[in-house]
């Protein structure tokens, strides 16, 4: 330790300690979970499993109910993202381009899901969904997931659209492009990074949403996070870890694929009006 301290110099030494603390705090728990998921024998007080294997993977993957939740969650997230894009992008564009009465009010309304207690909204939602026969349906859960991340889907693309100059759109119109063609060929490609980030928020938000799916989706729609609640309570940590790691995989893949769009600046846009 002493040799390390003098070898690296005080500043470097402190920086390495900081790095170690950072990695241990943020990545230690995740790494521990991945290790546990491949455990063979893991008895108290073993620090790490004494043998490894796919025992618990087999166990989880042999339960058809759990495999079903994986598919439900993935399909749900895709549907939620697509529908959300479809209904939110026009709104985002209108808010970015046009001045109309009530614009701030509309824009602010998307903040509501973050200010009103979620559990309160879901309970009240359940009352209305009962009347509309949406309880326990796929559509009902899709709606819940959409409103949860609508703020990102409206605010981030809206900010992105604002950076596209009107003149660029107008010149395309002048040479005869239809409004839709202008949108898909000029505006959308330029606003693309913002749209990607917003879609990521929506997709991953849908993958992790548990409370709403529990209240609105049960008993017919089981998603991975809502299933995980039960698993945490009643399964050993090795089995739970397998399921949690599976839930982690889509996030990791998406983040790696789209890493060039993810900067602190791009991600913060959705939180400011």
């Amino acid at each position: 330790m002493k040799r390390l301290y003098y070898g690296l110099g005080k500043k470097k030494f402190l920086e390495w300690i900081f790095f170690a603390v950072f990695v241990l705090f943020f990545y230690g728990p995740l790494m521990n979970m991945v290790v546990l998921s491949f455990a063979g024998d893991y008895e108290y007080p073993d620090v790490v499993p004494t043998s490894y294997g796919f025992k618990w993977w087999d166990y989880i993957l042999s339960k058809s109910q759990m495999v079903d939740t994986i598919f439900t969650s993935l399909v749900l997230a895709v549907v939620v993202t697509l529908v959300s894009l479809l209904i939110c992008l026009p709104a985002a564009y209108a808010i970015a381009r046009y001045k109309f009465r009530g614009r701030s009010l509309v824009r602010l309304s998307f903040l509501l899901t973050n200010a009103f207690p979620k559990m309160g909204i879901y309970t009240a939602m359940a009352v209305i969904f009962y009347k509309l026969n949406l309880m326990g349906t796929f559509v009902g859960v899709v709606l819940v997931h959409i409103v949860n991340t609508m703020m990102f889907m409206v605010w981030i693309p809206s900010g992105a659209f604002r950076t596209v100059h009107v003149q660029q759109e107008e010149s395309a119109r002048d040479v005869g492009a239809s409004p839709l063609r202008v949108f898909f060929r000029i505006t959308m490609p330029m606003a693309w990074p913002g749209i990607v980030v917003a879609s990521l928020y929506t997709f991953l938000g849908s993958m992790e949403e548990a409370q709403g799916s529990l209240l609105i989706g049960l008993p017919n729609v089981h998603t991975m996070p809502s299933e995980l609640y039960g698993i945490i309570m009643s399964f050993p940590e090795t089995a739970g870890s397998v399921f949690a790691v599976i839930l982690l995989i889509p996030s990791l893949i998406l983040l790696i694929v789209f890493r060039k769009y993810l900067s602190a600046e791009a991600l913060s846009n959705g939180l400011k009006m």
């Binding site: 230690g28 026009p90 200010a115 009240a124 945490i232």
Partner: protein, 282 residues
């Protein structure tokens, strides 16, 4: 040319789908909640639901517990994330670049997965306990089912979250500002308070309000890691619905929690509106 005379109903048409969903799925239920909170189970007007929470000792305890938890999470997260963001902005070392890549990930890890991962570390038979036994130390952290457990899990999420917001803000602080201040003889203390702070305080407010609002209604983390008594407001609300099936009381509690959040929201909107005025001017 025809761009000039945009049909006035155009923007409304474009906003309509998104706003309709919002109206049906969020705004109407919220209005319904407010109405419910003032009524008895058979529809009579009453203030009893509010009276219950305003006079109940249990609710008061929960409120105090939640406020303490929310404030400590907020303060700790802000301090650590501010330091982290400063480090990421002003250190040019390789380590800083690696951390700059790594710190964004927790924002996108499914909440319940992360809570589970942290639980397996800090619970009494968890990693910390097992690891220390290697050295013959029998230590039970006692963090789980306690306020500390909730705060630790929340820090895991909120430090990266607010560090992200603050890093974005700090990228507005040009090197030249800092260098010229240094040339003029300013120490780091002065640079921090006179140059960096004015440029980022607005984002500090945004981050702090989001953390606070999130804590008031928080459910997943306290449900899995928190104590049974006193409990967070989010759990108290869940109980009204799930255990007592008392929707009117649940409604009243939702409204009360919303009012608490509203304080934060007002600060947030105010600090954002200033930006609006500046943008309108350009």
């Amino acid at each position: 040319m025809d761009k000039k005379k945009v049909r006035p109903w155009m923007p409304y048409l474009m906003v309509a789908p998104a706003f309709t969903v919002m109206l049906l799925v969020v705004i109407l239920p919220i209005l319904n909640t407010v109405a419910q909170s003032f009524s008895t189970a058979d529809g009579q007007f009453t203030l009893a639901n509010y009276q219950y929470f305003l006079t109940s000792y249990e609710a008061f305890e929960s409120l105090v517990f939640t406020v303490i938890e929310a404030l400590s999470t907020m303060l700790l997260a802000m301090v650590f994330s501010f330091l982290l963001a400063l480090y990421l902005r002003f250190s040019k070392s390789g380590i800083s670049r690696i951390i700059g890549r790594l710190y964004l990930l927790p924002r996108f890890i499914p909440g319940i997965v992360a809570v589970y991962a942290v639980m397996n570390i800090i619970k009494d038979a968890g990693f910390i306990n097992r690891f220390l036994q290697l050295f013959g130390i029998m230590y039970k952290p006692g963090l789980l089912y306690d306020m500390k457990g909730i705060v630790i899990c929340n820090l895991w999420f909120n430090i990266p979250f607010s560090a992200m917001l603050l890093s974005a803000a700090l990228s507005n602080v040009a090197d030249s500002y800092v260098e010229s201040a240094k040339d003029a003889g300013c120490g780091w203390g002065k640079i921090l308070t006179k140059i960096i702070w004015p440029l980022v305080y607005k984002d500090v407010i945004v981050a702090a309000t989001f953390i606070l609002m999130g804590q008031i209604g928080a459910f997943t983390i306290p449900y899995l890691t928190g104590p049974n008594n006193p409990k967070m407001l989010g759990i108290l609300l869940y109980q009204q619905v799930n255990t007592y099936l008392d929707y009117q009381r649940a409604a009243a509690l939702s409204v009360l929690m919303f009012i608490i959040c509203l304080g934060g929201a007002v600060v947030y909107i105010k600090s954002n509106m200033k930006e609006e005025a500046w943008q309108a001017g350009k």
